[in-house]
């Protein structure tokens, strides 16, 4: 979208406007870092259903969207949250109970799929996964693919290298582009036009944003355009791709936001325990999501003391010496 200040809005408004039942959604971040958790909680709060979710390894956000009952189909490389959940608990339960349909890819393949979407091309090639069940077994069958306009007709295609042995490669796997209806990211800083600055690793956020029809950015800080423009080398997402800019301090909580705060190991552990039992999980949802109005309300439940503990050391970017056992 063009420049302009009409992109700044509340998270409730942004989710209402760009996320509907059945939307194809991708979220940024990786395992326990920079997941757009405030937006995830708002989607759960608005009881949006039947999302088609694309993820590489965006652990915590994916698990909570599934746990919140919002997801019916998932294309994914990895459903884990590092050492806090080698396999995400609600993800695992939902698959084993047949509540969601999953199609498996690798991390690089999901990345390439977003990159192909960002580049506006139908596919990208890689040598990864030749000869594996990732190529052989499709999560979505041909009938579903033929009906669904937003899902490519094939999962992965093997192609003989048209340039002979060029690149020491006989065969490649073509991975189809992903074009999500909406990508939701949490970034450190953005301006009202939608230019975004990500600090630390960017994961596949930039590609996810550019592949999407719409982009919602939540940010720790809304900063003046002149500030971001003073050092464009630190900005990654041009405003051209962005529809909504929502300032949400601690918007990635309980996942980490480099240079702002660490992940909350205590919260993530409590989450895992709750997730293992449907009853306790219902209480978790009620307490932290449904019974509060917004992310500020959720953070209030967590408490200032706990938030203070995870504040990042400004030079190192994480909470030095944090108890993470």
């Amino acid at each position: 979208m063009e420049a302009g200040s009409d992109k700044v809005m509340s998270l409730r408004e942004a989710v209402k406007r760009f996320v509907q039942d059945g939307s194809h959604v991708s979220i940024g971040g990786f395992t326990v870092s920079r997941n757009p958790m405030a937006a995830v909680y708002e989607i759960i709060r608005q009881k949006i259903r039947n999302l088609h979710l694309y993820a590489h390894s965006n652990g915590q956000g994916v698990d909570e969207l599934i746990g919140g009952g919002c997801v019916s189909r998932l294309e994914i490389a990895y459903g884990g949250s590092g050492r806090f959940a080698p396999t995400c608990v609600r993800f695992r339960k939902a698959v084993e109970r047949g509540e969601i349909t999953v199609e498996d890819y690798t991390n690089y393949q999901m990345t390439l799929r977003f990159l192909a979407g960002a580049m506006g091309i139908p596919f990208l090639p890689t040598r990864s996964s030749l000869g594996t069940d990732i190529v052989r077994l499709w999560g979505f069958d041909e009938t579903m693919r033929a009906v669904e306009e937003k899902v490519p007709d094939k999962k992965l295609v093997e192609l003989e290298n048209p340039f002979g042995q060029w690149g020491d490669t006989k065969t490649v796997i073509l991975v189809p582009a992903v074009f999500p209806d909406v990508t939701i990211l949490h970034v450190q800083q953005a301006d009202e036009q939608g230019t975004a600055r990500i600090e630390g690793l960017s994961f596949a956020d930039i590609e996810q944003a550019k592949a999407a029809r719409h982009v919602i950015l939540t940010c720790e800080e809304l900063v003046p355009t002149a500030v971001l423009r003073k050092n464009p080398g630190l900005n990654q997402i041009p405003f051209l791709h962005v529809d909504a800019v929502v300032p949400v301090p601690f918007g990635a909580y309980p996942t980490a936001c480099y240079r702002y705060y660490d992940y909350d190991a205590a919260f993530l552990k409590a989450y895992r325990l709750a997730a293992q039992d449907d009853g306790r999980y219902g209480q978790y949802l009620e307490r932290f999501i449904f019974s509060v109005k917004d992310h500020a309300g959720m953070l209030h439940r967590v408490g200032q003391e706990q938030l203070q503990r995870i504040k990042a050391d400004t030079s190192r970017g994480y909470a030095v010496g944090l108890d993470r056992r």
């Binding site: 084993e96 990345t111 690793l201």
Partner: protein
């Protein structure tokens, strides 16, 4: 001082396989300790590398995820996932990468399953999935595999082939177009397994203190050649002190 745990032995055994100049693709468990130990002992010019794009991280604290902010501190370049995997597929740098990965099931040719136990479409146990494991095993020169030595994990046939090893034996990778790489060693809580150059089948190369080739075999779902097996030298005092004092003083990973 010469007393040590199985996890310590595993980390040390893996570290010994890392060469100076290697780019070490690692996760956040024992594989990271192995990479750190190698860098402090025998491979000072090796580079610690995460699939999220962090190159040569300066680890003052142990990360608990490959997206942990701790790996972003003082890296060479803040890459993306796209950059990191391209580094592995790249003709120059890919050759230098050694990948350390784990799995829930392994077969005699070092193929791995980390996706599902049982029928893929109605799994008894759903696992996390490939992540970057299939990528690194497809793209780089050498992979080292960490496994728990249990019968149900060493299986003649995988429930799902997530990550390619030597496929079905000699020429298996080449036939598929996997032009380089292949599993180099399997390191478990009991032993070090390698793959025969001719048959590409797993064999027992070494067994740890307090175990025997027979015991190793009893904990596997398929038989392997044990004729070449020798005892693995226990961690040296230096290896142990580096591991304990410099790599994981809080025993976050060593337990």
């Amino acid at each position: 001082m010469t007393d040590f745990t199985a996890r310590e032995m595993m980390a040390v055994a893996a570290a010994r396989h890392i060469k100076d100049g290697d780019i070490v693709f690692c996760g956040t468990g024992i594989s990271l300790l192995a990479a750190m130990a190698a860098k402090h002992i025998s491979a000072p010019r090796s580079v610690i590398f995460f699939e999220t794009g962090a190159i040569d991280a300066h680890l003052e604290e142990l990360p608990l995820s490959v997206a942990d902010s701790r790996i972003m501190y003082q890296v060479s370049v803040n890459g993306s996932l796209a950059d990191a995997f391209a580094t592995m597929q790249n003709r120059r740098t890919g050759r230098q990468v050694v990948g350390i990965i784990g799995a829930a099931q392994i077969d005699p040719y070092g193929n791995l399953n980390s996706t599902a136990i049982g029928d893929y479409f109605a799994p008894r146990v759903r696992l996390a999935g490939s992540g970057g494991a299939c990528d690194v095993a497809s793209l780089v020169n050498r992979t080292i595999i960490f496994m728990q030595h249990e019968k149900r994990k060493f299986v003649p046939r995988l429930d799902y082939l997530t990550t390619p090893g030597w496929i079905d034996g000699p020429g298996g990778r080449e036939r598929l177009g996997l032009s380089r790489g292949g599993p180099y060693a399997v390191i478990t809580n009991m032993a070090v397994m390698r793959f025969d150059d001719a048959s590409r089948r797993m064999y027992l190369e070494g067994y740890f203190e307090k175990t025997t080739p027979g015991e190793v075999l009893q904990n596997m779902g398929f038989a392997v050649d044990v004729s070449r097996a020798r005892p693995v030298p226990p961690p040296s005092p230096r290896e142990l002190s580096v591991l304990r004092e410099r790599c994981d003083p809080q025993r976050l990973i060593l337990g």
